[in-house]
């Protein structure tokens, strides 16, 4: 009884809107590869026809890439090409891209997915081998250079992969898949070290 009462006061003290990011702060370090959960970011899923790209690029402050498997970054904001009319925009500087899109009158669909995704950083010499534990794409620097981005799969879960540096990747996955993806990558990092 006392325990329940204590719980109640604790709940009342902290507001109900408290944000609890999935897997916050978790990380695994193996020889050659480190897997860690990145802090929350603002994200939108953007769909737009060819004619709206220029106006949206101007409003977002980053040129939406038109080439498959590419991305563009400017001032903490990254636009990833997912499909011929689809982009994932990630903002790590704390400015919600959704508000920037709201001012654009050109035809487009922008959906806030900040809380749907979580990001995991895979870094180190064994980063590519770690992701290849469950991802069938060719991650050699020739086929997947720095800045390359693609939606793909990891084991049974869909991920969005972005290469930040020759030995650093950002893995975006759905929040509900995050435990699976993180554990998969952790196992992969241990295997990559062998």
């Amino acid at each position: 009884m006392a325990k329940a009462a204590a719980k109640k006061t604790a709940a009342a003290a902290s507001p109900s809107v408290e944000r609890r990011p999935a897997l916050a702060g978790r990380s695994t370090a193996a020889t050659g590869a480190k897997v860690e959960v990145l802090p929350p970011a603002d994200r939108i899923s953007l769909r737009a026809p060819e004619a709206s790209i220029a106006a949206l690029s101007k409003a977002l402050g980053v040129t939406l890439p038109k080439k498959p498997k590419t991305s563009a970054t400017k001032a903490g904001r990254t636009a990833l090409w997912l499909g011929p009319d689809e982009w994932l925009v990630i903002d790590e500087a704390g400015n919600d891209p959704l508000t920037d899109c709201a001012a654009v009158s050109a035809l487009h669909s922008a959906v806030g997915i900040s809380h749907r995704n979580i990001a995991i950083a895979v870094t180190g010499a064994g980063a590519a081998a770690t992701i290849n534990a469950g991802c069938p794409q060719d991650l050699s620097l020739d086929a997947f250079p720095v800045g390359a981005a693609s939606r793909t799969i990891l084991g049974k879960a869909e991920i969005v992969l972005l290469r930040n540096a020759p030995d650093a990747f950002r893995v975006e996955c759905w929040r509900s898949f995050s435990d699976y993806v993180f554990t998969f990558l952790s196992e992969g990092s241990r295997d990559a070290a062998v």
Partner: protein, 98 residues
């Protein structure tokens, strides 16, 4: 693992990213409620299921998510070519006799 060329991503990607979506070039009638039962049956249920060259719809599910068409040999399981959705059936297939 098979590598399938996605015409939207403009490169070959592993088959795990793709889903088959049935036979291609089956046009839905503009007046579906006016179709006779026999015609509807043909449109809805009857597929060619050939031994050899088949035209199929595929979807790059875990990639660009676009539907496209592919020509595949059902005997060898080899993809002969792929082309964007909406494009006409190719009249000439690369590397195929006849």
């Amino acid at each position: 693992m098979l590598l399938i060329r996605c015409p939207y991503c403009e490169e070959e990607r592993p088959e795990l990213e793709f889903r088959n979506a049935g036979e291609a070039h089956i046009a839905r009638s503009a007046n579906i409620s006016g179709e006779s039962d026999d015609d509807f049956e043909k449109f809805f249920f009857i597929r060619s299921n050939p031994k050899g060259i088949i035209y199929e719809r595929w979807r790059h599910m875990h990639g660009c998510a676009r539907f496209f068409n592919a020509v595949r040999d059902t005997v060898t399981d080899k993809f002969i070519m792929t082309y964007k959705a909406g494009e006409p059936k190719p009249s000439k297939l690369p590397g195929v006799a006849k």
